[in-house]
Symmetry: C2
Subunit: 337 residues, 2 copies
């Protein structure tokens, strides 16, 4: 039986929505869920839900927590925090994976330093499957690392390839490196140094991708440094919010437009479901020793259940074994500089 450590104190709707998500996972997926956090609060929620005696739900007390606005590195000193304790359950092998809706930077720190990196992996990286009209494109890294070296980007490419193939079911994924300008030789120093290494790998490397390729479906995996990926991801989210707000203000000015908006709502909601990558169930830290799934701070019970399901998919597909094999076989010695 798969066992997942769930940080119940992180996230905007913690602990209630998180605990409820854990309950859903235990009941619908049949996983064992360690509910880590304030024992009293968690048990009170379990009691209200009539799940206090569910053998698949085990409360692990952690009196402290990491706040959303706290410097992420604090978590490594807060050894009684729900996130740290959940990370330790994974480290000790009591749990097979970690899910948290808490402070993203803190989850990353726990993933990198408590759960640790898988064999062959130099730096775990965050891969996010972004939607486009034709499917999904994995952007990696979106914030686990800054000032990456060429050899790190090559590893990210293999991680992204493995994620696209094993989890998203994309065969022979088309891999690109994010740059400005299409032709080889265009870009910054990092891109120029990484390009020839990627060419030497056994990946289906198509060359430079540009910013416009991210949402166009022209690549399945796009590799970049985590600084770049992070600002793109956050800019995209903020663009989405700004567009919605600006359109709403225009709609307010006309009752015909208001009626139009009402009629459009079901279509917009369908779009939103496809576009909102946080609905898929969270973003994985690829290359960690065990699945570490970061969900949006706004995650509700369903999103938490989905994140636990994603952790399960990583485990059921033996993702890490495939990743280690791919890192060994797809990158020739010459490209490991």
């Amino acid at each position: 039986m798969l066992k997942i450590a769930l940080d119940c104190m992180g996230g905007d709707y913690a602990p209630i929505e998180i605990v409820r998500g854990g309950i859903l996972a235990a009941k619908e997926l049949g996983y064992k869920v360690y509910l880590v956090g304030d024992q009293e609060e968690i048990e009170s929620i379990l009691k209200k839900s009539g799940e206090l005696n569910n053998p698949n739900l085990e409360v692990v007390h952690a009196p402290d927590k990491v706040e959303m606005n706290e410097p992420p590195s604090n978590v490594l000193r807060k050894k009684q925090s729900s996130l740290y304790v959940a990370g330790m359950l994974v480290r000790k092998g009591e749990a097979d994976g970690l899910v948290s809706a808490g402070n993203t930077g803190a989850v990353l720190a726990v993933g990198k330093f408590i759960v640790g990196a898988e064999e062959e992996v130099e730096r775990p990286a965050i891969g996010v499957a972004l939607p486009n009209p034709k499917g999904k494109t994995v952007l990696i890294d979106v914030g686990a690392n800054v000032d990456s070296k060429p050899r790190h980007l090559v590893q990210f490419a293999v991680m992204g390839h493995t994620y696209a193939e094993s989890i998203l079911g994309i065969k022979n994924p088309r891999v690109g490196i994010l740059s400005i300008g299409e032709e080889e030789g265009k870009g910054n120093e990092l891109v120029k140094e990484t390009y020839p290494l990627l060419k030497q790998t056994k990946l289906n490397f198509l060359g430079n991708a540009e910013g416009r390729d991210i949402y166009a479906g022209t690549f399945d995996v796009i590799v970049c440094d985590g600084f770049v990926g992070n600002v793109i991801l956050k800019a995209s989210e903020s663009l989405g919010l700004a567009v919605v707000q600006m359109i709403k203000e225009e709609i307010k000015k006309s009752w015909l437009a208001k009626l139009g908006a009402v009629l459009l709502m079901p279509a917009l909601n369908n779009f939103k479901k496809k576009a909102d990558f946080t609905e898929y169930g969270g973003i994985p830290l690829l290359g960690a020793k065990k699945p570490v799934i970061i969900t949006h701070g706004r995650a509700n019970a369903k999103a938490i259940k989905n994140a636990i399901k994603v952790a399960g998919e990583f485990l059921n597909t033996n993702f890490n074994d495939i990743l280690v094999k791919n890192l060994k076989t797809l990158i020739p010695e010459e490209a490991k500089v």
Copy 2:
């Protein structure tokens, strides 16, 4: 009388829409416009428009052109191309500014190497005023430079400040440096080295901005390396296109939604006008000796006229004089490392 060199052979709708834009500018703004490109083609358009004898429109023959998909650096060898010839008109002082809808990289090359950098400016940079629900935020640099050094980012900040204040009319603009994480000390090496320098300037420096700040109206100027700015800008454009396409596909599935879309159209068009930064009339290469305005490849006559108008605004406000003064007075010697 202001004199603008217009590259008539660059852009998706060249030469006809470009020439028509030049005609609009001559008639509505009263500027002299040098129409640079194939003399026969341009004169034929002028003739059809009844403007062959307009003294404010002067055709300058250039037999060659730079294609949209050509390596940008080619322009420096194509000395008979419309873009190069237009750049030379500015360099020689015959024209006061340059407008082109052509190959962006090639326009940049002409701006940097033919028009050249203004006194005090080490590297010209592209500043783009991006829309948000509260107004506009200048993102600089969005692609003129890669692998920028801290001192370049400090100059970009002053250029963005001057653009926001002199052209956009924003008083005491709030300046940030793009990073991941809000607190000082977060980010990559470039950000960590630049932060203390920006603190020493006389700019209204608020510290780190995050990707989510770009479209949120929380800063008036956000500084970044051109690689980062370029991929963000292009990703934003491609996200916009992807969202429109995905929503259209959802709308197709229901006639009620189709009706809703029709009713919403006027509001959406209003939004589009505000959001489409290409409608403002092009993007300036800040820090060039004379205004160099890059418009979208899809620019029509109106967009070209607007771009010429923007070039005029830079000249009429003595933008470059203010910029040079700001570079001298806002950056203390200690921050010029």
